[in-house]
């Protein structure tokens, strides 16, 4: 019983990690926290679900559509919530994203209804790997998450925009003085972060065969917990945080009670913030 739970945890954890990386990219480059990330994830999930159930498109097309929709939404959020308030400190953009998250959730309820929407299942067969039954879907999700982590690393380390992002993260004024278009970097970073959230949303929808308007709340907070665990500015830390939360959640279901599974992420969040605010792999933050 232990190994299947570990694999479930790893699968869910890899999706939490995708959400968490979005927070890391946004906090890392702009030093700001968004609260609408969960709703971006929800929007991506709905686009993916519609693509599969209404338009009968294959799952990878749905995935690309969900990611594209999340990209556009993220781009717009950055324009509305973050662009006008760049120098206003943490709180005003955070509050604006709270407003956006309430609006998006409410609109989704009004437009699509509050109840679950079914998503068709794919890859229902299982395979035997080293003596353990694993569902093909889980392998697909793990492979996809791994691929996205890799692509992201290549983008950040190897491309021009990635270099501009790293430069902006270190010191946006110096980057600006060296000819980096900082506003463009912020837009792209936010859109990229949202796009990963959208990917997680589509995959969660497929994994649980359902999407619903309030799905973003808990998922966003869990992603944030993973991000804090890893230290807010570290992508490997966020991946590790996501996977640990996913695994511990499933062990909680196995050994304690299923009602308490969601407590894990929040306990991790509170304990890490109180004892080690810089997280596991993050750098010491001086002033926040």
């Amino acid at each position: 019983m232990l190994v299947p739970q570990l694999i479930n945890g790893l699968t869910q954890g890899s999706l939490y990690a995708l959400i968490a990386i979005g927070f890391v990219i946004i906090f890392g480059t702009m030093n700001l926290v968004t609260f609408a990330h969960g709703e971006v994830y929800m929007a991506g999930a709905f686009v993916g679900a519609f693509a599969m159930s209404l338009w009968h498109l294959p799952w990878f097309v749905a995935l690309v559509m969900g990611m594209a929709a999340a990209w556009v939404l993220g781009f717009l959020i950055e324009k509305v919530a973050f662009r006008p308030l760049r120098t206003a400190g943490h709180m005003p953009p955070l509050l604006i994203t709270i407003g956006l998250s309430i609006i998006l959730k409410d609109l989704a309820v009004v437009l699509f209804g509050a109840e679950n929407r079914p998503v068709p299942s794919i890859y229902e067969q299982t395979v035997r790997l080293a003596g353990v039954q694993v569902s093909v879907l889980q392998l697909v999700i793990l492979g996809l998450a791994g691929t996205l982590f890799l692509v992201l690393r290549l983008v950040i380390q190897g491309t021009k925009i990635g270099r501009a992002m790293r430069a902006t993260a270190q010191d946006h004024e110096a980057a600006s003085a060296m000819g980096v278009n900082v506003n463009r970097v912020f837009s792209i970073a936010f859109a990229l972060a949202s796009c990963l959230g959208g990917a997680a949303g589509v995959m969660i929808g497929i994994y649980y065969n359902a999407v619903y308007p309030t799905m973003g709340g808990t998922a966003g907070l869990k992603g944030f917990a993973a991000c804090i665990f890893g230290g807010l500015t570290s992508i490997p830390g966020a991946i590790l945080g996501g996977i640990i939360i996913g695994v511990v959640e499933n062990l909680t279901v196995q050994f304690l009670a299923s009602g308490y599974r969601d407590v894990v992420a929040f306990l991790v969040m509170v304990i890490v913030l109180v004892l080690r605010p810089q997280g596991l792999l993050g750098r010491k933050l001086k002033t926040v």
């Binding site: 604006i96 409410d106 308490y260 407590v263 929040f266 969040m269």
Partner: protein
């Protein structure tokens, strides 16, 4: 005198006395149970918003977990009233005390943190409280909620219509606002504001900042618990769903729209945002959208809200120091 400086005193009775008189006479003009029930809800939110204002507005500590303390107060009252048969007059203060104890317990380890980190810890606490309420079936009956909470009785007569609740919440609001106005104009209130403006300077001036921050948290959560007890005895049913993060955000929106750091602001914000969605079916259906748009509009165009002290959310201190030129972000990757 700007509106945010207004404090009811004996010498400015000509401002607050007519308002109070109008509120006392209000039910004589309006007999509709529906309108009175909206007024009662506005009264509950006035307490919630005004108490959140103590931490978020006066002391500059951003708590995002107010609904959890509201819920703890409501559940305390519900459990004491249904299991032990205590009357409203006992459950009301006890709910405040229990919520205040939780407030102190949360504040002690977390008040080293400031700004968004404090906000995040309180959100974590909020969610944990919700999940425990939902799962500790022996104490809270879990998802079934607690029904059949007895109504308050005055002189042996139980309240039945909203008219009685209207006068009860009006009296409670007057007492709470009276106490809060005494607190914020006292030495303690000035210490809160000093901590908000510059914690280091406050400390050098001899203010015991840590103790004051704890006190600020306890005051805010105590009154949230009081509001919870009233809610429990008014709705006569409590369930965990009433005290989720959405509720915290609603209270926070009211506070920001009304304006932080003043006595008048939270009252205006609570009344406006409780009444507005009731104005039309359309607004009621899109309640969240209305709240969200108003919140965003206020932050972008009038960050001090209707009657708040300017400059609190763009705050100085821990919230904005990171944006000074040298303090940009950390490397990604």
């Amino acid at each position: 005198m700007p509106l945010y400086d207004f404090v009811p005193r004996r010498d400015n009775w000509y401002v607050w006395l007519p308002v109070l008189a109008a509120l006392l006479l209000f039910p004589l003009l309006v007999r509709s149970e529906y309108i009175l029930s909206i007024a009662v809800y506005a009264g509950i939110y006035i307490i919630l918003t005004s108490s959140l204002n103590i931490t978020n507005g006066y002391t500059g500590l951003f708590s995002f977990g107010h609904a959890a303390f509201y819920g703890i107060g409501a559940y305390t009252a519900a459990i004491l009233a249904t299991r032990l048969g205590l009357s409203f007059w006992l459950t009301l203060p006890l709910a405040g005390v229990v919520a205040g104890i939780f407030g102190a317990a949360i504040a002690l380890p977390t008040l080293r943190l400031t700004g968004i980190f404090l906000a995040l810890v309180t959100i974590g606490f909020q969610e944990i409280t919700f999940l425990v309420t939902l799962n500790w079936i022996g104490l809270t009956r879990g998802p079934m909620g607690i029904p059949a909470i007895p109504p308050p009785a005055i002189g042996g007569v139980a309240l039945s219509g909203n008219l009685g609740y209207y006068y009860l919440i009006l009296a409670l609001d007057v007492i709470v606002l009276g106490l809060l106005s005494r607190i914020v104009t006292s030495r303690v209130g000035r210490a809160f504001v000093a901590i908000r403006e510059d914690e280091l300077a406050a400390q050098s001036a001899g203010i015991p900042t840590f103790r004051m921050k704890i006190l600020s948290f306890v005051i805010a959560t105590f009154f949230a618990g009081i509001a919870g007890a009233f809610f429990a005895h008014h709705a006569r049913f409590v369930s965990a769903d009433s005290f989720r993060l959405d509720e915290t955000f609603a209270i926070l929106t009211m506070l920001i729209v009304g304006g932080m750091g003043s006595l008048v602001g939270p009252v205006l914000g609570a009344v406006l945002l409780v009444v507005l969605p009731e104005a039309s079916r359309f607004l009621a259906e899109y309640r969240g959208v209305v709240y969200g748009l108003i919140l965003i509009g206020v932050i972008l165009f009038r960050p001090e809200g209707l009657a708040g002290v300017p400059g609190i959310i763009q705050a100085r201190g821990a919230l904005s120091r990171v944006d000074k030129p040298s303090g940009a972000g950390e490397p990604v990757g």
